[in-house]
């Protein structure tokens, strides 16, 4: 699914500027979670902003022959090779189609830097900690393994992902 043209990757959200010093904001009246939320098949997912380095447009993902499942390929991140994970298939959905609103979320988890291919990215969202509940028990899918909880907030349902599990970093 490679596209022509130069890899003009621009950071869309400058997290270096907007990242809070530490996760919970001491001056807020109640502890909040800062989440980066993105959409897969119209479902919303969230990960802690502290794990996100930047968000880039999808310019060109080079396929690598015979890699493990869920690895879409590699992309050029300002001269560094970034492995891009097809998070959709990891969560049991179909392979993604790259559209103009697709993005790669560059995350750093346990010292490893990887890219997540998502359909659409929303702004950083602050949700109160007490809006998070455990994943619903009646929905038992392989997917719930990857959730640390679900945030009900502002008429949105945001599924909080545990990136360690999603990216299989526990070895």
């Amino acid at each position: 699914m490679s596209t022509e043209g130069r890899a003009a990757v621009e950071p869309l959200l400058g997290f270096a500027d907007t990242l809070p010093a530490a996760a919970p904001n001491a001056s807020a009246p109640a502890p909040t979670l800062h989440l980066l939320t993105f959409t897969l098949d119209r479902e919303e997912y969230g990960i802690p902003v502290t794990q996100v380095r930047e968000v880039i447009r999808v310019n060109s993902i080079t396929r690598v022959p015979q890699v493990p499942a869920h690895v879409r390929g590699v992309a050029n991140l300002r001269g560094r090779i970034l492995a891009v994970v097809e998070i959709r298939t990891r969560l049991g959905l179909t392979e993604g189609v790259v559209t103009p609103s697709s993005r790669i979320v560059v995350v750093e988890v346990r010292g490893r830097v990887l890219g997540l291919l998502v359909d659409r990215v929303s702004q950083v969202t602050k949700v109160p900690v007490d809006s998070v509940v455990p994943p619903p028990e009646e929905v038992v899918t392989a997917e719930t393994d990857f959730l640390t909880g679900v945030a009900r907030w502002d008429s949105r349902l945001i599924m909080l992902l545990e990136l360690d599990k999603v990216l299989l970093l526990n070895g």
Binding site: S2, A7, T62, P65, V71, N76, I81, L82, L114, L167
Partner: protein, 552 residues
């Protein structure tokens, strides 16, 4: 006075450059001496020859404030002086003492620093003292003033002794190389941009000037690259130096008599390659001693001299370095390999002897028991081979029953920047290292025939297999149109053609490693970034020629 307070502290690197080769020569001489004494020869001239070197090492170490090295050299001098007079004491105990002292001296000097610990040196000095005291004719050892000829030996490292050598952290060289790599990528981008601009603007003096400037920049970068690469080059003797002693230890443990001949130590390799080469080479040597060479009695029965010969040769061959480990032992047992392969379920009916021999690199196929811990350290031939592959090298084996075995390694001189051929298959681009490309040929459909479901063609008088690029790379031939070219890829003695859509051109590419998330894709050895910013996979020619990636 410690090294730090020493006024000559800055000369530590020069000290190592001068004294390490001397210490290694002493070490080799001691190993040789041990052999001679076992055979009942006196070895006087050897004893005399090490005196001068030990004396120099002692003096230099004293000047540098390096007491451990000074003391070990002094103790060895005393021991040699004593043994020069007391011929009756020349035996296994004396030899072991000298050899261990020689090894200790090499280790101390090689790692010389203000922090060098003196414990091992003190223990050795004490050992020598006890050895000398136990002798009936002992007295304070008199040093022999007469110097003997010192054979001229090539020195390790550059520098004309004029203090022009500096010590640089290797990581800094890596960082510089990384920056140079970025520069090369940017230059590729610049060239691409020039082409696009030229199409839009057309010819004019400024475009001409731009073209010249871009070209000059490339020349400068290329020169910078080779200069930088040279700083990383070290002679292979830095790794070979430890082998004589280690081979001797293995021979001892295995009850074999071995003579190790080393040539080509001045051949240079990138430090990064050299650092990882030691283990596989040691394994090959140990393997040869443990399994290749017969016991002295068996050799005698076969009409061979009881002492086995192990050769380690290094040489540069057109941009690559060849290293050969050979022995004059019993050779590989092709029948045993065949039997073992079959017992593992492999189909080897049509395999010829050479192919059977090369099976020794397959995990689980070694017909010998796991090598002893001393030599093996958990490494098998399969692991050694994959380490060498990981360095972008190849390894082949030849063997004649009853005559011996030879392993030949071919390694790229440097790791980081590789001249490559860029090809396109099914709209994806790939890089093929030029060192593995014999030729590119226009593909005429009639010239390629199908035999047993495999494409074959005539190439330079040989019949070679030709595989479809899309099949090997798993992209399956999107266009449906026939491929225009095939690339004849080579690795060691193997050749194979790969059908591709387009030949894009030659390019210097910066090799970037594979992210662990990608696992171990069988046909890709790395990635690189092309001039247009796209990532391209670098084909692992060695694995492809072994059959990886073929769709069954």
């Amino acid at each position: 006075m410690t090294l730090e307070e020493n006024p000559f502290g800055d000369l530590l690197q020069d000290y190592i450059v001068e004294c390490l080769p001397l210490a290694e020569e002493v070490g080799h001489a001691f190993v040789e001496l041990e052999r001679r004494w076992r055979d009942g020869e006196p070895g006087d001239e050897l004893l005399a020859s090490v005196k001068g070197r030990l004396h120099t090492i002692k003096g230099n170490s004293a000047m540098m404030g390096l007491a451990p090295m000074r003391d070990v050299a002094h103790a060895l001098e005393d021991a040699c002086g004593f043994l020069g007079r007391a011929a009756a004491r020349r035996g296994d105990e004396a030899a072991a003492l000298l050899v261990s002292g020689g090894g200790l001296l090499v280790d101390l000097i090689g790692d010389a620093s203000p922090e060098t610990d003196g414990t091992a040196a003190k223990a050795f000095v004490e050992e020598v003292r006890r050895f000398l005291a136990a002798a009936p004719e002992s007295s304070s050892a008199e040093r022999d003033r007469r110097q003997t000829d010192r054979r001229g030996q090539p020195r390790i490292g550059e520098g004309d002794g004029a203090g022009n050598v500096v010590r640089v952290d290797f990581r800094r060289l890596d960082a510089m190389l990384e920056l140079l790599g970025e520069g090369l990528i940017q230059h590729s981008g610049l060239t691409e941009l020039y082409r696009r601009l030229q199409r839009r603007v057309g010819a004019c003096p400024e475009m001409e000037e731009l073209d010249q400037t871009v070209l000059s920049l490339q020349k400068t970068l290329t020169r910078l690259e080779s200069t930088l690469m040279e700083t990383r080059l070290l002679p292979v003797s830095t790794v070979f130096g430890r082998f004589p002693r280690l081979v001797r230890d293995v021979a001892h443990a295995e009850g074999k008599k071995v003579r190790l001949e080393v040539t080509g130590g001045e051949t240079t390799l990138d430090k990064a390659v050299l650092d990882r080469l030691g283990e596989p080479l040691l394994h090959l040597l140990s393997n040869a001693v443990a399994h290749g060479l017969e016991r002295p009695e068996d050799r005698a029965k076969a009409g061979k001299p009881p002492e086995g010969v192990l050769r380690l040769q290094a040489g540069a061959v057109s941009g690559r370095v060849a290293i050969r480990v050979s022995d004059d032992g019993r050779g590989l047992d092709a029948d045993a390999i065949r039997a073992r392969a079959e017992s593992l379920g492999m189909d080897v009916r049509t395999a010829d002897t050479a192919q059977l021999h090369n099976l020794v690199f397959v995990p689980g196929l070694s017909t010998a028991e796991r090598v002893t811990t001393l030599s093996g350290r958990g490494m098998g031939l399969d692991v050694a081979a994959s380490v060498i592959h990981g360095l972008g090298g190849t390894i082949d084996v030849e063997s004649l029953p009853g005559r011996g075995t030879a392993f030949t390694l071919s390694l790229p001189v440097t790791l980081a920047i590789v001249r490559s051929l860029i090809v396109e298959v099914d709209r994806e681009r790939y890089a093929v290292p030029l060192s593995h490309v014999a030729e590119t040929v226009r593909a005429e459909p009639e010239a390629i025939r199908q035999i047993n479901n495999q494409g074959v063609t005539q190439w330079r008088g040989d019949l070679i297999h030709v595989a479809d690029g899309g099949a090997v790379l798993g992209t399956g031939g999107l266009s449906g149109a026939p491929r225009s070219y095939y690339v004849v890829m080579t690795a060691g003695a193997r050749r194979r053609g790969l059908l591709v859509d387009r030949l894009i051109g030659h390019q210097d590419i910066v090799v970037k490693g594979l992210d662990p998330a990608l696992g171990r894709p069988p046909v890709v050895s790395g990635t690189t970034i092309l001039g247009d910013g796209r990532v391209a996979c670098i084909l692992d020619v060695v694995r492809i020629l072994e059959g990886a990636g073929h769709v069954n």
